[in-house]
């Protein structure tokens, strides 16, 4: 029977916990990379593994984790959002203006960030589905346009000294140690994982990104889910803005620049397929942490600032070539 040949073929592969090793490496790769990298750098520089430094690494990673979870859905749906950095800045400035220039109480004003993010994401989604602009082009356009609005609104000035409501998510530390933004980031990771595996949103995003024609034939409204992924991304950009502005207790028009690259890199390192249909939410979380670790380790090990870019670039190349290798193994 064909089932027999199927088993015979897969038995040649070494198995770990009943699954082919390629599958396990792909699934556990990001977390394994975090641990291995941590141990190696920890041996070279023990300070790297101090509680203070670990908290610091996660603290720096929080923004990227939040963005990366949103981006995981966009990329899984065979899209890409280049405008996340600009969305972060624009939702940030909208929140700051609401709180500084309107009588809206700060505790309510902070909701402006995620809500306006959803609107920005909705616009991205509409440009892509209704105007038929490719995802990449549409979000490059909005990256520039959104950034322009930020510059117009803020006039390039630094805004600072915000009420506690704004600083809370960025600065509050549980027991005076653990920043709440880290907890928020991990909760978002867990929620993202649940959404991915248990909701219609997650399932149809996979279907749409994996095989758009099949999804349409199954009666799925792919435009609706395409838009939803961008709305979700926008929401996350707003939350990330909240965390960033709060942490720094300041706002500047350049916030979020280059963040789209780091976010996409974190998602790719995490094992999400760039052409859609296969996302790894926890992979993205650990991908973001790994990126943060690399930068942090470079500083601790005394790499000059410019060399850090080279290092991060190499990590991305390494991760992607590893996945390509595993993919080739699997399809052979």
């Amino acid at each position: 029977m064909d089932e027999g040949t199927q088993t015979a073929a897969s038995e040649e592969e070494m198995k770990i916990f009943g699954k082919p090793w390629t599958y396990q490496v792909e699934r556990m790769g990001p977390i394994a990379a975090v641990i291995i990298f941590g141990v190696v750098v920890g041996i070279l520089e023990p300070q790297f593994l101090s509680t203070r430094n670990i908290v610091n690494v996660l603290y720096q990673a929080a923004t990227y984790i939040i963005l990366a979870v949103g981006m995981t859905f966009v990329i899984t749906g065979a899209g890409i959002d280049i405008s996340v950095g600009s969305q972060l800045a624009l939702t940030g400035v909208l929140m700051v203006f609401t709180i500084q220039y309107t009588p809206v109480p700060p505790w309510i004003g902070i909701f402006v960030a995620p809500l306006s993010g959803m609107v920005l994401g909705l616009l991205n989604g509409l440009f892509i589905t209704k105007l038929k602009v490719p995802d990449f082009i549409a979000t490059i356009a909005t990256m520039i346009a959104y950034r322009g609005v930020v510059l117009i609104m803020s006039g390039g000035q630094v805004h600072y000294d915000f009420p506690y409501a704004v600083r809370f998510l960025g600065q509050y530390r549980i027991f005076g140690v653990l920043p709440i933004s880290i907890v928020v980031a991990f909760v978002i990771g867990a929620v993202g994982y649940y959404l991915y595996h248990n909701t219609f949103f997650g399932r149809y995003t996979v279907a749409m990104g994996g095989n758009k024609e099949s999804a349409i034939l199954a009666g799925i409204d792919v435009n609706k889910y395409k838009i939803l992924t961008y709305v979700f991304m926008g929401f996350m950009a707003g939350v990330a803005a909240l965390v960033t502005v709060g942490r720094l207790d300041a706002f500047h028009a350049t916030y979020g620049e280059m963040m789209e690259i780091d976010t996409i890199a974190a998602v790719i390192i995490g094992g999400t397929a760039l052409f859609g249909g296969n996302g790894r939410v926890w992979g993205s979380v650990f991908g973001a942490i790994l990126m943060s670790m690399v930068v942090n380790a470079a500083v601790l090990l005394g790499f000059p600032y410019f060399y850090q870019y080279v290092l991060v670039g190499l990590v991305i190349l390494l991760a992607v070539s590893l996945y390509a290798f595993l993919e080739a193994r699997r399809s052979s």
């Binding site: 029977m1 064909d2 089932e3 040949t5 199927q6 088993t7 897969s10 595996h197 248990n198 909701t199 219609f200 399932r203 996979v206 279907a207 990104g209 994996g210 095989n211 024609e213 099949s214 999804a215 349409i216 034939l217 199954a218 009666g219 799925i220 249909g277 296969n278």
Partner: protein, 259 residues
């Protein structure tokens, strides 16, 4: 014809044009539950277009569709599904990255309410249980690695999963577009078994095929199309292979057909 004997599906005088090209020209089709109708014809005979009209992918320019004798509008895939009409496409239309239950129930996942009924989410557990039942009882197959992406399964298994999808919802009629075209001998036998099983369960089947031997193997009736027109419709027992080939190529019994 009395009301009691109305077949499950009737398509009457269907016309579908693409610009100047008339892909389907005044075609009648009928098929009842528990009946296997072969739809044969050469390439570009209009078989696929006719089926796409039936499944809601194309709108017809003329003609009507009747379910249980009542005139219905089928404008979307969902409409067809609501009438119990499912299709298994030639390329199977699976999502490679999803596992077996994910594909069986794509687009119609069982749901459950959480957080006090506020959110509706997919009931993965129920879906897996129902998937096992469908595979075992309707398709008589056991799949290993149930939760692996379907791309890891063999061609025959993928074919079965695609057919199983039609059965995941309460369906009355399954349209199979070239189900045996890309399969090996054993897998073709498996597909025949599935078709016979459907018939036994009183499900109607429209079996589109190039291969007349396969048609004679499992079908009850045959409808021949040529250049968009219906050129013959007869019981399989009254037809011979030579005759069908002639009809497909030359359309000799064309005058029999009137809209």
């Amino acid at each position: 014809m009395g009301n009691e004997n109305t077949p499950f599906l009737q398509m009457k005088g269907i016309v579908k044009k693409f610009g100047a090209l008339t892909a389907v020209d005044r075609v009648d089709l009928e098929v009842d539950k528990g009946e296997v109708l072969a739809l044969v014809g050469e390439n570009a005979a209009g078989k696929s277009t006719l089926i796409k009209v039936l499944t809601g992918i194309h709108d017809q320019d003329e003609g009507d569709i009747f379910i249980d004798g009542e005139k219905v509008e089928i404008n979307k895939r969902k409409d067809a599904q609501n009438f119990g009409i499912e299709a298994v496409y030639q390329d199977l239309a699976l999502v490679n990255q999803l596992d077996v239950p994910g594909n069986l129930f794509l687009g119609k996942e069982p749901s459950k309410k959480i957080l006090g009924g506020f959110f509706e989410v997919i009931d993965n557990k129920k879906m897996e249980e129902q998937s096992k039942t469908i595979l075992k009882e309707n398709l008589n197959m056991e799949i290993e690695n149930f939760n692996d992406p379907v791309i890891n399964h063999s061609g025959g298994q993928q074919q079965s999963i695609a057919i199983g999808r039609a059965l995941a919802s309460k369906c009355e009629l399954v349209v199979m577009d070239e189900p045996t075209a890309s399969l090996g001998v054993e897998e073709i036998e498996m597909t025949f078994d599935i078709v016979r099983n459907l018939k036994k369960n009183n499900v109607g089947v429209i079996f589109i095929s190039h291969n007349l031997e396969h048609v004679f193997e499992v079908c009850d009736k045959v409808l021949v199309m040529r250049m968009g027109e219906r050129v013959a419709y007869k019981d399989i027992e009254d037809a011979s292979k030579e005759e069908l080939v002639k009809l497909m190529v030359h359309g000799t019994e064309r005058k029999e057909e009137t809209a």
